[in-house]
C-alpha cells in the first residue's frame, strides 16, 4: 500500500515522471475559493442588471447557468488546467498520463460535478476520493483526470557548512538521505531538525544544534566539497573511527 501521494508515469523517453496528486482538504479549499469568486461575480452582475428589468433577469439567469456548469471548463481550457482557486493553491488538472486536460475531459469532470455533490456537500465525491487510489472523484474517474500539484516541492541548495568526513562509508541511498536532509533543513524548525538528527546519533556523535551542523557538513562532503586544510580527506570508507575518537562537543 502506498503511503505518499506521488504517482509515477513512464514516458517514451524512458524516465518516470512523478505526479503529486492533491487530497481532499486542499481541493475543498480550492473549490471554496472558486465558490466565493462565483458568488461575488453573480452578486455584482445582479446589482448592475437590476436596472434592466425582466431583460436583466433573463441575462442573469443565462449567466447563472453558464457559470454554474462551465466555470471549470472555461478556466481549465484557457488557463492551463487551473481555475483561480486551483491556481492560488498551486494545483492543476491533468489527464492521468500527465498531459494537459482536453475539452472532453474538462466537460466530463465539470458536468459530473453535480453527481459528486450528491447527496449533499460533495458526499459522493468525498467517498470516491477516499476510496480511489489516485484521489479521484466520480467526475475525475469518468474523465480520466487527476488534480495534481503544479510544482515539485521547492528544492533549495544545501546550506553552507564546514565539510565533515562521515565516520563510516555511506551507501548511495544513505548519502542521498543526508543531502536531502540538509536541503530540506530550512523548512523545519530547529527542534524538529534536532529531533531528526538525534535518530542517527551514532553517525553524528553529537547532541543538539551541533548534530544538525555535522549532518549538513557531511552532506557537503558527500556533494564533493572538501575542506582544503583537512588532512582526513582521503580517509572516507577506509577507516571507521572508534566512538568518541573525534572531538565531539
Amino acid at each position: 500500500m502506498r503511503l505518499d501521494t506521488v504517482r509515477s508515469r513512464a514516458t517514451p523517453e524512458g524516465i518516470n515522471l512523478s505526479l503529486r496528486v492533491a487530497g481532499a482538504p486542499i481541493r475543498s479549499l480550492a473549490w471554496f475559493i472558486d465558490l466565493i469568486l462565483i458568488s461575488l461575480s453573480v452578486f455584482l452582475l445582479q446589482m448592475v442588471l437590476a436596472f434592466f428589468g425582466t431583460f436583466g433577469i433573463g441575462l442573469l439567469l443565462i449567466f447563472l447557468f453558464s457559470i454554474s456548469w462551465f466555470y471549470g471548463v472555461v478556466f481549465e481550457q484557457l488557463n492551463d488546467g487551473t481555475t483561480p482557486g486551483k491556481k492560488i493553491l498551486g494545483l492543476r488538472v491533468v489527464h492521468d498520463d500527465g498531459t494537459p486536460v482536453t475539452v472532453t475531459g474538462s466537460l466530463l469532470r465539470n458536468l459530473l460535478r453535480v453527481a459528486d455533490f450528491l447527496p449533499m456537500a460533495y458526499g459522493a465525491g468525498l467517498v470516491a476520493l477516499f476510496l480511489s487510489k489516485d484521489c479521484q472523484r466520480l467526475g475525475d474517474m469518468a474523465a480520466g483526470t487527476l488534480v495534481v500539484y503544479r510544482e515539485d516541492e521547492t528544492h533549495r541548495g544545501v546550506p553552507p557548512a564546514e565539510p565533515v568526513v562521515p565516520p563510516v562509508a555511506l551507501s548511495r541511498s544513505e548519502q542521498r538521505a543526508l543531502v536531502d536532509f540538509a536541503a530540506r533543513l530550512p523548512t523545519w524548525g530547529p527542534e524538529r531538525a534536532q529531533e531528526l538528527a538525534s535518530v542517527i546519533q551514532p553517525l553524528t556523535r553529537a547532541q543538539g544544534p551541533r548534530s544538525v551542523e555535522r549532518l549538513v557538513g557531511m552532506a557537503q562532503y558527500v556533494l564533493g566539497r572538501r575542506n582544503e586544510s583537512s588532512d582526513e580527506v582521503r580517509t572516507v570508507g577506509t577507516s571507521v573511527r572508534l566512538p568518541g575518537g573525534e572531538g565531539a562537543a
Partner: protein, 318 residues
Amino acid sequence: MNRDDFVRHNQPTWDQVEDLLDRLDEGRRVEHELAEFPALYRRCCHHLALARQRDYDAEVEGRLHQIALRGYRHLYRRRSGGLRKVLRFLGADFPRLVRRHARTFWLATVLFYGPALAMGWMVLEQPDAVYSLLELEQVAQFEEMYRDPPQDERDASIDFGMFGFYIYNNVGIALRTFAAGILLAIGTIVILTFNGLYLGAVFAHLTNEGIADHLLTFVITHGAFELTAIVLAGVGGLRLGAAVVSPGRRRRVDALRSAAPEALSIALGSAFLLLLAAFLEAFWSSASWASPDTKVAVGSAAWIAVYAYLGLGGRRGS
C-alpha cells in the same frame, strides 16, 4: 564526473530549455527554436535518468524533473478539433451516435413516456389522483397559467427573461439527468420517471378541466425539442450507468472511462436541442400573433423534423 562538474557542464542546456518552456507556457512565438525543442527535451530526460541513477541530490534531480514534467506537457499534448468538429458533430456524428445507441434511446423513451401515459390514464380515470403528485397550489397555478390562450402582445424583454429562465432551468435538468447516471443509472431513471409522471399528470388534469388545448398549442413546438432532449440526456446517463453496473471484462473505472466520452457527446447534443427549445419556447410558443392552428401545424412538423434528424442525419457522406 562528480555532481558539481555535471551541473557546471550541463547548466547552459537546462537554462536554454527552461527559457524555451517559459515562453511556451506563456504562449509566445518560438518558431525557429521549436525544431530544437524535442532534442533538447530528450537530452534533459537523459540527464534526469543519469541524475537518478547516480543518486544526485534533490536540487539537481528536482530541477530536471520539473523540466521533464513541463516539456512532456508540451510535447505530448492531446489535440482536439475546433469549430469544424462542432458543426460536423451536429450535422452527422450526433444522430449517428444516437442510432448506435438506439436500444438505450428506446429504453429512455419508455422510462419517460411510460410513466407519463400511466399517470395520464390514472388522472383521467380518477381526477383526484393528480393531488397524489402535485400540491394544491401547484395545480391551481397550472390552471391559472393555461386558463386563457395568450392574448396581449407581451413585452419583448419578458420574452428574453423567460428565455434565460428556460436555459437555466431546462438545460440544467438535462445535464443533471445525464450526470446522475454515474450513480449506477439510478439517478437518471428517477429523474426521467418523475418528469414523465409530472407531464402526464398536468396534461390529464388540464384535459379534465377542458383547457388542455391551450397547453397543447403552447408546448407542441418546443416540446418536440425539449422532451426529446430530456430523453437523450437520459440516454447519456444510462450509458454512464450501464458502464458502471455491467463493465464486462474490464474494471468498472475503465469501462466508465471508455463509455464516458460518447455519453458526454449525447448529453451535449441534448443540451443543444434544449437551447433551440428555450428559444422557441420564449419567442414562439407564447406568441399571440400565431393562431392555435398554425402552432399545431408547425409543432407537428417540428416533431417529424426532430425524429427525421435523429433517424436520417448523417446517413450519407463520410
